[in-house]
């Protein structure tokens, strides 16, 4: 599915003011919507590293989660930019900072058939304790071949994100049409206790 799927999307009036206000409840570290080229991903990841040097433990976690979510969009978004021979996934990612935590939220278009797989995976992860997740992560890495038709990485990324954040994954799904849905995932990383 490519950009043609997007033309089926209902064109709603976009208010830049509301977008701005939505992002103003917390301090924004990076916010982006567009093609996830390796250049853009690199620049955002450097910005995160630079801004989080004051809290290295949380900083490494936010960086690692950002990298996995950005790579998911780059590799798996159902919306792609044809750029030469390479397809760049299109999506959105926002990293914010509040008083006691960082928040990383990423969203992109996915095949509607992938939604139950993703939602089940998030539920399984949220219902598992840390020891179960550690074992599950190992088993998924140890598996040969793709986990399902939508993931060559066998879903290690989501388990890694959950273990790294040590907080539940929040998923949001919006149906767009019969083929395409929007899927977003949000996760927090606690700051070090002051």
């Amino acid at each position: 599915m490519t950009q043609s799927a997007l033309s089926l999307m209902e064109k709603k009036k976009f208010s830049f003011y509301h977008h701005y206000i939505n992002l103003s409840h917390e301090d924004v570290i990076v916010s982006y919507k567009g093609p996830f080229s390796s250049t853009i991903m690199y620049e955002m990841s450097k910005e995160i590293q630079n801004r989080l040097v004051k809290d290295l433990v949380a900083g490494k976690k936010v960086y690692s989660i950002f990298m996995e979510l950005a790579q998911n969009i780059f590799n798996y978004s159902a919306e792609v930019n044809k750029f030469g021979i390479r397809n760049e996934g299109i999506g959105t990612i926002v990293v914010t900072e509040s008083e006691d935590a960082y928040s990383i939220t990423a969203g992109n278009l996915v095949s509607r058939r992938a939604v139950p797989i993703l939602v089940d995976k998030c539920q399984l992860i949220n219902n598992s304790d840390r020891e179960t997740l550690r074992r599950l992560k190992f088993e998924e890495k140890n598996r040969t071949g793709a986990a399902n038709e939508f993931s060559k990485g066998a879903g290690v990324g989501l388990i890694h994100i959950a273990l790294t954040s040590a907080e539940p994954l929040e998923a949001e799904v919006a149906e767009i049409n019969e083929q395409i849905s929007f899927f977003a995932i949000s996760v927090n990383v606690k700051k070090k206790a002051a």
Binding site: S38, T39, V57, Q71, R134, K137, K141, N142, H160, L163
Partner: protein, 127 residues
């Protein structure tokens, strides 16, 4: 057998330094691992180890010194460890050292899980 000697690269992607000595069995993987084509990068490394260990029970000393690796890379790190586990079980002298950045408790936990779930000894150093 020939050595593998690849310098680290840093750009939009990061590839680690790889040095694998066919004469002594000293191997090192260091730097950061976030690679455009992960399979392409790690396949020769795993194949080298399979070839090396097929020659007999020669010593194998592998040092991991990675500041960051993504989950795609970690699948191949596990493949490397599994070849060494096989060599270890066959009676080959195997030593694995893993340097973990001191602020990275998640990496520490992951390396501890290689010890637990693969069943191979790893000397873990927090640096």
């Amino acid at each position: 057998m020939e050595n593998i000697d690849i310098q680290a690269t840093k750009g939009e992607f990061f590839t680690p330094r790889v040095f694998m000595n066919a004469a002594t069995g000293e191997c090192e993987l260091s730097g950061e691992s976030y690679i455009e084509d992960t399979l392409d990068f790690y396949r020769p490394v795993v194949q080298w180890l399979e070839q090396y260990t097929a020659q007999g029970l020669q010593p194998l000393n592998f040092t991991f010194n990675l500041q960051y690796y993504n989950t795609s890379s970690s699948k191949y790190l596990l493949d490397i460890i599994k070849v060494m586990k096989k060599h270890h079980d066959a009676g080959g002298p195997v030593k694995i050292s893993w340097f973990v950045p001191k602020d990275d408790y998640d990496m520490l936990e992951e390396v501890e899980d290689y010890v637990r779930f693969v069943g191979v000894p790893i000397d873990i150093h927090q640096v």
